[in-house]
Symmetry: C2
Subunit: 97 residues, 2 copies
């Protein structure tokens, strides 16, 4: 069954644009991975420092490929992470209906 | 911008099958709504009473159409709700990347 990630990145106040710029490069590259079924970034407009993610990968291999990708290293780890005060994520299983 | 819903339904223990049966009818009907972009049900396998949802609608009108639909009334309100101990949801805005 496919694996979902629900993640949250909280930017340091004033660093939202750094995160948005990283995401503008990361998101299209992630969606182009063969094992990525969905990559959505969403936000409560009243909490502009908080970026939330809902992602779906085919399986564990696809999830690992995402984490090992050059775009993840460059834009998530290299560009966004230093601008973040907090990061968290959890994994769930997608139910087939 | 599109609207995301992150929702959680917690079934009364032993009522998981009632909820799954309702979802088997609700989910395909919701996905067929013209304003529904995504309707994903996901779960932590270690918490089988907890059903999580990630849904995306085009706009407020599409969200209202979902809540007013006959399938929502029949399967979410009529069938699933009596089997639930708790329901919660929150709205966010999908960011375009």
């Amino acid at each position: 069954m496919a694996i979902a990630i629900s993640a949250t990145w909280t930017a340091h106040p004033g660093k939202e644009d750094v995160v948005r710029d990283a995401l503008a490069k990361l998101v299209p590259a992630a969606r182009a991975e063969p094992g990525c079924q969905a990559y959505v970034v969403h936000q409560d407009p009243e909490r502009p420092t908080v970026f939330r993610f809902f992602e779906i990968y085919d399986d564990e291999d696809a999830l690992k490929a995402h984490g090992d990708s050059p775009h993840f290293a460059k834009y998530a780890v290299g560009q966004a992470a230093p601008a973040l005060a907090d990061r968290s994520h959890e994994f769930t299983t997608v139910l087939d209906f």
